[in-house]
């Protein structure tokens, strides 16, 4: 439960040690792993059903990735265009270079609004900048209105999965949690649990002075913010309080309203196996003259936080296409076996392993790129065709260049030198075969890591090259 610390881990290599420790612990929890696997079971079926309704899913992926590609490669043009349109709608854009500046902007807005209570809907960007901790430190009451986020808030945990924040929590645990915090009687019904949270929330929407939301897309041509949700809580969060603050990464901009025609259904299908998410709302500025509802003020905090550095990396720029659908987590064998908290990052799973080294430093976070068998399930699942698993290789290459492990580098150099000399390589192979039995008894480090859980067959009497020579005679 150590995820999402506001500052970098203290000692060098701490994040990696934590990962190894937590992964080992999690893997031992067979029941939990089984629970998560089963929780995702229904997803695969409904995803495939929904995918089958597309005339051509692969072409839809092309279109979606094109829409994101053309936007991400023209951020310099589209962001000002969005700002102009959003401002014309009556909103105000605030540019934040990093997490600290973003937090400061939000705190200043809360101060001008003389706010006391804040209600939030799901917003991973706010997790990224550790906003809740900052707000609470300044004495604001903050409530998460998304059911999953609310549960996580009560549990004092960050999201386990950036789309399904409490997918690891059993229903009876939720019931107990509500009983403990809200004094409600135990129940086994998901509907009743939802209603408990809703009843609790109703009053809070009305009491809140400011509503904070995320954004799924920012439409440059219309200056609208597109928010996708299943519970209707984001609508209330944005509409009822006096001030609406949305927080979004700069990569969320798309050029045209039409782009959403492909992006919205793909987000729903890839991420949750839905045809469309239940509520897809476009927010086009604060309440206008003569309108009955809506906030008096609407603000958007546009966050860079190292995204421009990723943008400058032409090879991995497409990682900014990410629409945070979560599909890559859902199919990832690493995620399913180590669980969401083990990553220690805001963004878990394959895409988190790609971008966290960019957002928080390659040296400290490259182990996430290493913690992959490179199976590529993520890349196949990604609706916007991010070359996820190959980017893990790119990160590994960059790390080997900038901060190589000394021992490993010596080993690699030796290996390459031997592999270029056939006679030496063959001799090395012979030596390996002849000493394998002994090595299995002694168990040097690399071998012992294997042998702790797996057997190795005995080496054959002769190598292929020897057998081949004999065969040709």
């Amino acid at each position: 439960m150590t995820a999402a610390l506001p500052s970098s881990p203290p000692a060098a290599g701490a994040a990696k040690r934590q990962f190894l420790h937590d992964a080992a612990e999690h893997v031992r929890d067979v029941g939990h792993r089984e629970f998560v696997r089963r929780a995702l079971g229904g997803y695969y079926t409904s995803r495939d059903t929904q995918k089958a309704r597309y005339r051509d899913w692969e072409q839809a992926r092309d279109a979606a990735s094109m829409a994101k590609w053309s936007a991400v490669n023209r951020l310099d043009e589209l962001l000002p265009r969005f700002e102009a349109a959003f401002t014309a709608n009556g909103g105000q854009v605030h540019w934040a270079r990093d997490a600290e500046e973003a937090r400061r902007i939000v705190l200043e807005l809360l101060a001008t609004a003389k706010a006391k209570a804040v209600i939030k809907s799901k917003c991973m960007t706010s997790e990224e900048i550790h906003l809740n901790q900052a707000l609470e430190a300044d004495g604001y009451g903050v409530v998460e209105s998304d059911l999953g986020e609310f549960i996580q808030q009560l549990r004092g945990e960050p999201p386990y999965h950036f789309v399904f924040p409490c997918m690891h929590v059993r229903r009876d645990e939720i019931s107990d949690l509500f009983g403990q915090h809200l004094g409600t009687p135990p129940t086994d019904s998901p509907e009743e649990l939802t209603m408990i949270a809703r009843r609790h929330m109703r009053r809070l929407y009305v009491d809140a002075d400011v509503g904070i939301t995320g954004a799924n897309f920012l439409v440059a041509e219309t200056g609208q913010i597109s928010i996708t949700e299943n519970e209707g809580n984001a609508r209330l969060t944005a509409a009822l309080p006096r001030m609406h603050i949305a927080i979004a990464g700069i990569e969320k901009v798309v050029e045209r309203l039409d782009d959403l025609a492909v992006l919205l259904p793909m987000l729903a299908t890839a991420g949750a196996g839905q045809p469309m998410t239940c509520y897809n709302t476009l927010y086009a500025g604060p309440r206008r003259e003569g309108e009955a509802d809506g906030p008096e003020e609407m603000h958007l905090v546009l966050l860079d936080n190292s995204r421009t550095a990723l943008l400058a990396d032409a090879e991995q720029r497409d990682a900014l296409h990410c629409i945070r659908c979560g599909a890559c987590l859902n199919v990832c064998p690493i995620f399913k076996n180590v669980g969401g908290f083990t990553y220690g990052t805001t963004y878990q799973g394959p895409i988190g392993s790609v971008i966290t080294p960019h957002l928080r430093g390659l040296k400290e976070w490259n182990h996430l790129s290493g913690a992959s068998s490179l199976c590529g399930a993520c890349t196949d699942a990604c609706p916007v065709r991010i070359d996820i698993h190959h980017h893990l290789l790119h990160n590994r290459r960059n790390a080997a260049r900038s901060s190589p492990d000394r021992l490993e580098r010596i080993g690699q150099k030796l290996f390459a030198a031997v592999a270029r000399r056939p006679w030496l390589f063959a001799t090395g192979g012979w030596l390996f075969r002849k000493t394998l039995g002994l090595a299995k008894a002694i168990r040097p480090p690399v071998l012992s890591a294997w042998l702790a859980t797996r057997d190795l067959p005995p080496a054959p009497a002769q190598s292929f090259r020897a057998a081949w020579k004999r065969r040709q005679r």
Partner: protein, 240 residues
């Protein structure tokens, strides 16, 4: 056609019978098979660890070894993917780029070569057992082979092919990953081997000796059946 065998380093040292089985099948189909003994490793251990300069040196050696070969065929989706997909990337912008692209176009995974290049699915084999096929991730996703090995298996006399409930899951080998993150790697083996074993098959068929090492290693430690067998061994009729 003269076919040059590409024998991955661990096949050379640990499972020579797989290489011999490949040669047997290809010769039976009327082709000449050669083995160029100067070959070593494809360089994947360096490449996957991020040591691209080292991988490049090994790749250039492989380009020299296989220069002029009509076709290069190897019994590992993973090592073939290294040559097909990653050599061109690794050597892009170097004087070896053309040679890399050229080799990539002539290099094939064993089952892929039979079905896609030779147009053969029935090699006349018989294997009276119930089997399931384990897709190696590199074969499945880098080479896009899914149907090819199954077509070959369906043509085998008296063989019953069944599918497992986690067909797209990785076995967790991942090269150095298996020893750098042994507990994660093992958990993945447990999931995949468990799924394969649930089919109640006699054998798990694979086109990747590295996946075999992982699956057998775990199954053997657990004292569980079944074991893996390479596709080439079934097609050659040399399987026990």
């Amino acid at each position: 056609m003269t076919i040059s065998l590409f024998i991955p380093c661990f096949v050379d040292q640990m499972t020579p019978q797989v290489g011999l089985a490949v040669a047997t099948v290809l010769e039976r189909l009327g082709h000449t098979v050669e083995f160029r003994p100067a070959q070593t490793c494809c360089g994947q251990p360096s490449f996957n660890a991020g040591y691209q300069d080292e991988a490049r040196a090994v790749a250039i050696h492989a380009l020299e070894v296989f220069a002029g070969a009509e076709a290069v065929v190897g019994p590992s989706g993973s090592c073939v993917a290294m040559m097909r997909v990653f050599y061109p990337e690794l050597l892009a912008g170097t004087p070896h780029e053309t040679a890399a692209l050229d080799l990539a176009a002539r290099t094939f995974e064993f089952g892929e070569f039979l079905v896609r290049k030779l147009g053969v699915t029935d090699v006349g084999a018989r294997f009276p057992h119930r089997v399931t096929y384990h897709d190696g991730c590199h074969g499945l996703r880098e080479l896009r082979l899914r149907e090819e090995p199954r077509q070959l298996l369906r043509a085998v006399r008296d063989l019953e092919l069944v599918e497992c409930d986690e067909p797209e899951s990785c076995c967790g080998f991942g090269g150095l990953f298996s020893v750098k993150f042994p507990m994660v790697s093992t958990a993945m083996a447990e999931v995949k081997a468990g799924s394969l074993a649930r089919t109640d098959c006699d054998y798990i068929v694979s086109s990747d000796p590295s996946c075999q090492l992982q699956l057998d290693g775990w199954l053997s430690r657990q004292g569980k059946r079944p074991r893996t067998i390479h596709l080439a061994e079934i097609l050659a009729g040399t399987a026990s």
